[in-house]
């Protein structure tokens, strides 16, 4: 999937978002802004952890809620000459961007409150694509199995959110990077394989 296709992909994906979804994104951004700014009083690690959780929720919502959640099952995509892994990589971009926007809003809130200058603030930005990647697998499942993937996505976010609270700055960053790389790779591969196996008969 080249740059032009990826850009078209994000535009098409974004156009599927309803006004309610857009309102949700803006609201979540405002919540992230105020939460990060307020939590700074209790220290940067707590603020980072809360922001990572908010980014995780944004990623799960953007990946699985409403029309965004039906995108992976769209015949327009399934009929395209792409392998599952290529489709999976392209599908991760839009929900990750939404979650990134949430993390960015929170970080901006922290900067405005006089904090946000430590490298620890990278953790929420790592939690966003990881949660989106794990949550996307829910879109190809129904019922309890779909719920399981949402819970797994939340668990991955919790895991990353716990790092700033339990490790030092370097440990948290290294742990977050390692977890995102390993879990993200496994989740992306699993989603790609699920897409390759998926048939629209249901």
């Amino acid at each position: 999937v080249n740059g032009r296709a990826l850009l078209s992909f994000v535009r098409w994906h974004a156009a599927r978002m309803s006004l309610v979804s857009l309102f949700g994104v803006v609201l979540l951004g405002l919540v992230a802004w105020s939460t990060a700014a307020a939590a700074l009083r209790y220290g940067a690690p707590l603020a980072c952890a809360l922001l990572a959780l908010l980014a995780t929720c944004a990623a799960i919502g953007a990946a699985t809620w409403g029309d965004g959640g039906t995108a992976p099952r769209s015949l327009l995509l399934l009929s395209a000459p792409l392998y599952g892994r290529q489709l999976a990589r392209a599908l991760v971009v839009a929900p990750s961007l939404v979650a990134f926007a949430c993390a960015l809003a929170g970080w901006a809130g922290a900067l405005a409150a006089g904090g946000g200058r430590q490298p620890l603030w990278l953790v929420p930005f790592l939690a966003a694509p990881l949660a989106a990647t794990v949550a996307l697998s829910a879109t190809l499942r129904e019922g309890a199995r779909a719920l399981l993937y949402r819970v797994l996505a939340l668990g991955s976010g919790l895991l990353l959110a716990a790092l700033p609270l339990t490790c030092g700055t370097l440990g948290a960053l290294a742990g977050a990077l390692a977890l995102t790389a390993i879990l993200g790779f496994v989740a992306l591969r699993a989603f790609g394989e699920a897409l390759a196996r998926y048939d629209p008969v249901g």
């Binding site: 999937v1 080249n2 032009r4 296709a5 850009l7 078209s8 992909f9 535009r11 098409w12 156009a15 599927r16 769209s74 015949l75 327009l76 399934l78 009929s79 395209a80 000459p81 792409l82 392998y83 390759a196 048939d199 629209p200 008969v201």
Partner: protein, 188 residues
């Protein structure tokens, strides 16, 4: 030159949860040929069309688009297929962006895709079905699969793309009805 048929179905069937949804059938569609495949129900027709378009893998037997077996080489097979589903509302939703996306995925220049879409709309009108066909036909496909199209659409599409094989599904008790290729004067 020995050109492979656009579509070859060898005893392909589809079953789900132990229930046969599409009985085994054989089919050979050469390039430039228009064929109608009848199935006993709308669901069976949709599944058969999806199997021929490399969207659904057969439970038994094999489907070949040109030389590509759809179970083993789905991406290569899909590259040669233009598929128009029966439910065109969802498929053709947000048409301009969908067309831009499909053109980008197929590596077709945006202007060329827009021109081809205008050609289709000039032929079929500006309804949702025409937009769905325009989406599917934004590239030069060797095989065009129409799932339960409205009357006369398959003939119009065959006239628009005379070099391609056109397969349409329908609901009828008959197993398969093969029609003659579109006359040359109708193809231009």
């Amino acid at each position: 030159v020995n050109e492979p048929p656009a579509l070859r179905v060898a005893a392909a069937s589809f079953a789900r949860a132990g229930r046969t949804l599409v009985a085994a059938f054989d089919l050979l569609v050469a390039r430039g040929e228009r064929t109608e495949l009848a199935q006993p129900s709308t669901r069976a027709a949709s599944i058969a069309a999806s199997m021929c378009a490399a969207l659904v893998k057969p439970s038994a037997g094999a489907v070949y688009v040109a030389d590509y077996e759809t179970r083993l080489q789905p991406a290569q097979a899909k590259r040669l297929v233009a598929f128009v589903p029966a439910d065109v509302e969802a498929y053709a939703r947000d048409f301009p962006r969908a067309l831009a996306l499909r053109a980008a995925l197929l590596g077709v220049p945006a202007e060329l895709a827009a021109r081809r879409a205008r050609e289709v709309e000039a032929l079929l009108g500006h309804g949702t079905y025409a937009r769905a066909v325009a989406l599917a036909l934004c590239d030069e496909a060797a095989l065009i699969v129409l799932d339960q199209p409205p009357p006369d659409v398959a003939r119009a599409v065959a006239a628009l793309r005379p070099a391609a094989a056109v397969l349409s599904t329908s609901v009828a008790p008959a197993r398969e009805r093969r029609s003659e290729p579109a006359p040359l004067e109708a193809r231009t």
